[in-house]
């Protein structure tokens, strides 16, 4: 009985040599994030009308409307954002979207405040 148990353990360990590894070598490889994932923001500054509904609904007060050449546009502070997606749902022009990109780490906290132009360029 003991021999059979030890044999089963040995066979299971040997079988593990041929099983797929569950980890990936980040950052060269990455896990596939699902479509529904709520990641970094992306803004289409042409579709945006500057209504300010996204700034009103944000419960973390992470969005601030700033003046740009095209009119008022949202500036998003990624350090306050909780990635809930209410700003994406409320936008009447479907201009603000949450993508599957993960926020990058930065050395300077002020780099976490995403200005409207930067947010637009990332979408290209």
């Amino acid at each position: 009985m003991k021999m059979r148990k030890s044999l089963r353990i040995v066979l299971e360990i040997a079988g593990n040599l041929f099983r797929r590894v569950l980890t990936v070598r980040f950052p060269e490889q990455s896990l596939e994030l699902p479509e529904a994932y709520r990641g970094e923001h992306v803004l289409d500054t042409e579709k945006c009308k500057g209504c300010g509904l996204c700034a009103d609904i944000c419960s973390s007060k992470a969005i601030r409307m700033v003046e740009t050449a095209e009119g008022k546009r949202p500036e998003i502070d990624a350090s306050k954002c909780c990635y809930c997606g209410l700003c994406e749902d409320v936008c009447p022009a479907n201009a603000l979207r949450l993508t599957r990109h993960l926020s990058e780490s930065v050395r300077d906290p002020s780099d976490l405040v995403k200005r409207p132009k930067e947010v637009k360029e990332k979408s290209k």
């Binding site: 529904a36 994932y37 709520r38 419960s59 990635y83 809930c84 749902d89």
Partner: protein, 370 residues
Amino acid sequence: MNDQMKVSRDPDYDLYFGPAHPGSGNFGVKLKISGEEVVEARADPGYLHRGFEKLMEYRNPMQNAVLSDRICVFEPLNWNLVHAEAVERLTGKEVPEKARWIRVLMAELSRMQSHLIWYAGTCLGIGFDTGFKLALVYRDYILDLFESITGGRVYPAGYIAPGGVRRDLRPGWEEKVRGVMKKLEKMIKFGKLENPVLEGRMKGVGRLNLKNARNLGATGPVLRASGSKDDVRRDVPYEIYPELDFEIPSEKEGDALTRYRIGMKEVEESIFITEQVIDRMPSARMEPVKPRFFPPMPKGEVFVRNELSRGEGGMHMIGSGSEHPYRCKIRGPSLSHQVPVLEHLLKGSQIADVPAIYWSLNPCPADTDR
């Protein structure tokens, strides 16, 4: 054993079963010890107080739905449901039929992963590392499901919002959920094994009889392990629970091992409920809830209670004619478990039994402190 023991020794020293996250969560218990025996225990809550009830008074219902995730980090979707039901009952909002089925599916999945954390915490507290790691592995499969449905592994950002749910289910969800249920059956098989480690540490420890359980305010699995069959899903049914067929596990011994066994049986029942929901879910497309228009909340008050994985969770909401609720009182099931029940059970126990008793009550410091 704890009920009959009269502790008459004077304490020699104080020991703080402290608020360190891997040991006891963010909750401290001050113990007065004489030799190896606990003479007196005082619970020390408040380390995780974030002022939710006040924060909710300054936000509209959609923002509060996002906030309600974080009332208890172990079961965000269940708290989303309590909040959504409170707002709907106060404002009279209708919920589409498919949304009700999706809500119950998410609530039961959340109950399963919360019980797996309970199992993992218990094993961590008593030193059974294999059980801890296995439970968290199987929980990860459920978290991957949450990520594909709601967008977030732990926090679904108010997925269950007043008026329905924020997104419809994507095609292919059935196979994913069935696959995870099949994997969980392996976990149940492991959990039901007669484990000498768990029996040695938890059998006969922390015995709570039915009379004390009711007097001290225990609900949920803690009460059902002492002989009661109370369950809000049966007594005051909500959502589509009246149409589902499920058993309420209940046992009489009331010790820590019985509470653990009830937890495993509840995971099995939840798997059975989930399979019924998958078979009977309406297939029509559904309009998701969008945060577009907030009428003022009518004057009035409601109290809603749901069966959470830890016990009976409630929300008392008072509307006063503005967009924000006037008062939103949250009744967490863990407050009764972590303060009166814990202090009662720890008196007269040995130091080595303290983690086993603490974790067998399925504590959540987050919904004690809010």
